[in-house]
Symmetry: C2
């Protein structure tokens, strides 16, 4: 609304069609049981951000896991023989390795370089999304049990508070085969289509776009990742101006079925 109000000329006024990413920087430390929607709404207010219809939110997995109590104190973990065998070869804490194995339903690669697993949800990533950064003390975080449900809970609570229905993506940074560096991807989603299917449509020259399905939720997560980083304490990014499609679609739709996957 307000963002479309015309501005004095001479200023940069173009807005329709622009995409805007707005970081929230003042969320306090999250602990088990924290009301994330309350924290997000509070931070937005403090930072002068007014939610608008059409906004969507990308929320970092780390704060979702913390709020849901998905952290594990390493002191309580008794490593299995496999974890004890493998961890020293990669300089990892065997208790961390043990947590990774417990979170997994399949080991994809177990080498001196990395432990790549398929998590119980079906995500394939290093260390099964188990992570030590941004967690106080001798604790690790695991991925939320059901990241779609986490997203949907946050969306519902924000809707109750603000009166605005906004899709929510829960994101985490994953590595990739073939390319270096981590990128932020969508592990949970609520209220929007996670893919944009252009098959059956035509390009400007009348060719049908046969193979073109875009992973929009991953691109949204990646865009938010530019503001989140790991050490910057930006766990929530508001995306304004993306014409998403309303849908009940799980982020798990973005997983390539094992039978179709040539690299598993």
């Amino acid at each position: 609304m307000k963002r479309r109000r015309p501005r004095p000329s001479g200023e940069f006024v173009r807005q329709a069609g622009d995409l805007r990413l707005i970081p929230l920087r003042t969320l306090p430390e999250v602990t088990r049981g924290t009301d994330l929607a309350g924290l997000i709404a509070g931070a937005a207010q403090r930072e002068g951000v007014e939610f608008a219809r059409g906004d969507l939110l990308v929320v970092a997995q780390k704060i979702v896991s913390k709020a849901e109590g998905r952290t594990i104190g390493l002191a309580s973990v008794k490593p299995s023989p496999l974890a004890l065998e493998w961890a020293p070869r990669v300089g990892q804490d065997p208790r961390l390795t043990e947590v990774v194995l417990r979170e997994s339903r399949r080991v994809i690669r177990m080498t001196e370089r990395a432990l790549i697993v398929e998590t119980r949800h079906g995500f394939i990533c290093a260390n099964g999304g188990v992570d030590r950064s941004n967690v106080p003390g001798e604790r690790v975080t695991c991925l939320p049990k059901d990241p779609d449900r986490s997203a949907s809970r946050i969306a519902a609570a924000l809707r109750r508070r603000t009166g605005i229905a906004m899709p929510v993506i829960v994101s985490d940074t994953f590595g990739r085969p073939w390319r270096l560096g981590l990128v932020n991807i969508a592990i949970g989603s609520s209220g929007m289509s996670v893919m944009e299917d252009l098959r059956g449509t035509s390009d400007a020259h009348g060719h049908s776009l046969r193979a073109t399905v875009l992973a929009s939720a991953d691109e949204l997560a990646a865009a938010a990742g530019l503001l989140m980083k790991k050490n910057a304490a930006v766990p929530v990014v508001i995306v304004r101006g993306f014409p998403y499609r309303h849908a009940h679609e799980s982020a798990l739709c973005l997983l390539r079925p094992a039978a179709e996957d040539m690299f598993r």
Copy 2:
């Protein structure tokens, strides 16, 4: 500059720290020899966009390839026996398959599902980046020979026109193992660091971030991908507000060396 000018209260004013993505929508059809920087500057002017210090540009590979004459008329292609053998099994034009093989330095997977190759640059992708969409007639586009150089040429020409040094990323949509859907990634880059290395820094709790290198150029390309799509005729996106680091760094730095790659 202008984006920081204070606005009347009651309006949505928060801008510092925001990221803005501005699509250019009025570029005319590009052909061999087209001066891309001229076209981009013209479109920006037409659309009321004033470039600002700190901006960077993401440019779709497709228009770069066309401007550089990297299109091939299929009528001129004589398929090899291998292309003739394989193409019918996947319903592909053998001449297209032939162009893919010519662009490749290694075949990674050749199955009924897809032809995944390593291009002469080192990118691993389906069909070696050879593409039929958005090309008139019986022609295909190949990736630019040296996408970093393409980026750097566009950056230099834009600097001459506008007086502003802006990094340029050349992007293309790639598929991924394990996950469905295409995402836009960086295949060429000029004027900025393509990765953000957080190793050696600490998180909020004093843990050092050992494995954290972010592929910023890929996240920038993905963000731009949200506006580009394939059929939307947005071949250029301006990114405003991303605190990139000046550097002479090739987008090839994002390629994982084969020896370190567990999925090749």
